[in-house]
């Protein structure tokens, strides 16, 4: 499986944000995007996921097989928002994700265990602290399988122990042949990741 971007351009509200971005990831590869605020990291991730239209160039997934014909079907996207419902319990949220996305991977308990929050399954998501919410969102990556992870500042709000757990999760995903693109301001502990620095930066 290969994820390639070729001279990709993205725009926001009619204005070009970045241009001419190219990369190629094979199984087990990761890409870490850094850059100033407003330089277009989040925009790039959303363009890759297909949530924003491609302004120029192409992004393609090759050899995804029947299950993963295009990028959108092959990726987990974790944005700034956690995509969980505060009124439902943590377990209900994760169960929904698995049922809706298909390709079940871990049980809810195992996923909660992996982020160190095994006792909160029965609590409403809205009762958690900021960091705990982020960790549940990370657990959401584990309940159903996707070869490509697109992570937007995954470590925002995490404490030290959870940051280490996150690194381990990402390394595990890569070791099993997954791919990963992460936008971040903080070091993520992925040693052999490719690096992409977004130039410029809104008005910062």
């Amino acid at each position: 499986m290969r994820l390639t971007a070729d001279n990709l351009g993205g725009e926001r509200g009619g204005e070009p944000v970045f241009d001419g971005v190219s990369f190629a990831l094979a199984a087990g590869d990761s890409l870490v995007i850094t850059g100033q605020n407003g330089s277009g990291k989040s925009t790039l991730l959303r363009v890759v996921a297909g949530l924003l239209p491609v302004a120029a160039g192409t992004v393609r997934l090759n050899d995804g097989g029947e299950d993963f014909p295009d990028v959108a079907s092959a990726c987990h996207y974790l944005g700034h928002q956690n995509a969980m419902k505060p009124a439902l319990t943590v377990a209900e949220n994760l169960d929904f994700r698995r049922d809706f996305l298909g390709h079940p991977l871990m049980t809810t308990e195992a996923a909660l265990d992996a982020v160190g929050l095994d006792s909160v399954g029965a609590l409403p998501f809205g009762y958690l602290s900021t960091g705990q919410r982020r960790r549940i969102a990370l657990a959401g990556l584990l309940v159903s399988f996707r070869p490509v992870w697109l992570l937007d500042e995954p470590s925002a709000g995490l404490d030290l122990a959870s940051e280490r757990r996150l690194t381990a999760l990402m390394q595990g995903h890569l070791a099993e042949g997954g791919m990963l693109i992460a936008a971040t301001h903080l070091p993520l502990g992925l040693d052999d990741a490719k690096a992409l620095v977004m130039p410029g930066g809104g008005s910062g």
């Binding site: 160190g116 929050l117 095994d118 006792s119």
Partner: protein, 254 residues
């Protein structure tokens, strides 16, 4: 560290504990007296002469009037409890309010039902949208609204305040019910017992009515105390469960 507040929480409930003890002692007596009075009142009512206009249907009065009174009395009780929650923050006040709501709703429903059963022969219709009837109907809606609200907010502290405020704002309906017969002179009977210038009802009908009203009021209190006891127990179980979960967590930190 967490232990101190939890024990503080328990001493906080000490007041309710004494309450539970008292209730346990008095409840059987109260229930017995209530039933006795109610039966006595109803029996007297059946022995009383029939009304020259209404015939035997007048006997519904011994049910209808107490039910109607209690439905309003219960709301005033809840309003007092609401004040207790908001001003003195007394832990029992919220329990009292929450426990009273379903009972009040039931009595209001009964008042509505007996009223329309009475209305069928008297007015020739089950239901009219006159001032009194409609304002009682609105009272019924308000009881149900308070019930729905307390069910929608699961956190007891938050729901306590919310229900208290709603109850207090709804108090304006009570004078409307009371005076609706005078403001919109409608089908319904004007007040004949609770008047400033004394009752205008014949004593042979009045006495059974008063006795059965007292009996039903005592039944109401019996039910209310039982419901309060159940609510306190329910909350204790919830606190205990949370404490147990906390302890299990602390024993096995991740």
């Amino acid at each position: 560290m967490a232990e101190t507040t939890i024990s503080g929480r328990l001493t906080n409930l000490a007041n309710p504990t004494r309450f539970l003890e008292l209730v346990g002692r008095f409840l059987p007596w109260l229930a017995a007296i209530a039933l006795l009075l109610t039966f006595a009142g109803l029996a007297m009512g059946f022995a009383a002469p029939e009304d020259y206009q209404q015939g035997s249907t007048v006997r519904i009065m011994y049910l209808h009037v107490p039910f109607a009174w209690i439905s309003m009395f219960c709301y005033m009780l809840m309003a007092a409890a609401a004040l207790g929650t908001l001003v003195w923050k007394h832990p029992l006040a919220d329990v009292a309010l929450k426990a009273a709501a379903p009972i009040g709703a039931t009595f209001t429903a009964l008042a509505l039902a007996t009223g329309s059963i009475w209305g069928r022969p008297m007015w020739g219709t089950w239901w009219v949208w006159d001032g009194r009837l409609t304002s009682v109907f609105v009272l019924f809606l308000m009881y149900l609204g308070i019930l729905a609200l307390t069910r929608a907010l699961d956190d007891p502290q938050r729901s306590a305040r919310a229900a208290a405020i709603l109850t207090l704002v709804g108090v304006i309906n009570i004078p409307i019910i009371k005076f609706s017969v005078e403001w919109w002179n409608t089908l319904h009977q004007p007040a004949s017992v609770m008047r400033l210038d004394g009752p205008t009802i014949h004593p042979s009908l009045l006495w059974p009515l008063l006795v059965s009203a007292i009996g039903f009021t005592l039944i109401f209190f019996t039910l209310h105390l039982m419901a309060m006891r159940a609510e306190i127990w329910r909350r204790r179980v919830a606190v205990m469960r949370r404490m147990a979960a906390k302890r299990a967590e602390n024993r096995a930190p991740a």
